[in-house]
């Protein structure tokens, strides 16, 4: 392809890109299927708490390796101290990777039938970052715990 036609094509593409954002917002549903999701940790936390304060607490235990050789598989375990009775239980556990493109990993909605508020999985980390666990209690408060994980080989890409 000659330089001229390439530039023409490029210009057209750039114009398209400028127009696209408004369309993309409308077609968020379609993007879910095709493209990567993006959400910063601030907006993810805001979506979870609805603006309520999150207090770091010793009741929430987050265990993750301090150094993860492979960022593609980082085991994460969250447990929250709670009696898990009908009046006092952990409603939800949210796991967030602070610097990932889409910081949300999993939202886990528990019930008293669980007996124990525990959740374990394996997540991908793109770079060295904090892993954050937020526990939503039945009385409406939010408790959190976080741990820094050093990643030597990134897991995204």
């Amino acid at each position: 392809m000659e330089r001229r036609s390439f530039l023409k094509g490029f210009g057209a593409a750039a114009t398209c890109a400028a127009l696209v954002p408004s369309i993309v917002n409308a077609a968020d549903e379609a993007k879910k299927v095709a493209g990567p999701n993006e959400m910063s940790v601030e907006s993810a936390i805001a979506a979870i708490t609805g603006g309520k304060p999150v207090t770091p607490s010793a009741k929430v235990t987050l265990s993750a390796p301090e150094i993860a050789e492979n960022g593609a598989v980082v085991p994460v375990k969250v447990s929250v101290e709670s009696s898990m009775s009908a009046n006092d239980y952990v409603k939800a556990i949210h796991v967030l990777a602070v610097k990932n493109n889409n910081s949300r990993c999993a939202n886990v909605y528990l019930t008293p039938a669980n007996g124990e508020a525990t959740f374990a999985t394996r997540i991908k980390l793109g770079a060295t970052q904090d892993v954050l666990a937020i526990a939503e209690m039945s009385n409406g408060t939010f408790l959190s715990a976080k741990q820094n994980v050093k990643v030597t080989i990134g897991g995204c890409g």
Partner: protein, 108 residues
């Protein structure tokens, strides 16, 4: 999507708390990775919903994203209240869904 539900330990009584492991064979594509051969971006393909039901009552609901590792394992606890069936319904963002069940049979 191939799935598996494991209950640990094998022997338990009514009132015990057991661990439930749900495993799925899934690529969990983030939508950011490029195919090495074609240079095209691989579209996002990940499990976005997992529901655990015990005797058709909701035990735990999960909303998940592509940040989970390939072939994810999700573990939760269950306080055994009696015999019954544990059902796990998993869905991915392309609409593929699968139902897996396991029997809860407490001894004594």
């Amino acid at each position: 999507m191939k799935t598996l539900v494991k209950i640990k330990p094998k022997d338990y009584k009514v009132g015990d708390i057991v661990k439930i492991d749900f495993m799925a064979m899934h690529p969990m594509e983030s939508g950011m990775r490029k195919d090495k051969d074609t240079g095209q971006i691989v579209p996002a393909h990940y499990i976005n919903e997992v529901n655990f039901l015990f005797n058709d009552k909701v035990l735990t609901k999960m909303v998940t994203w592509e940040s989970l590792s390939v072939n994810p394992v999700l573990s939760i606890s269950l306080k055994v209240s009696g015999a019954g069936t544990l059902k796990v319904l998993a869905k991915d963002n392309k609409g593929d869904s699968v139902e897996t069940s396991a029997a809860i049979t407490p001894k004594g």
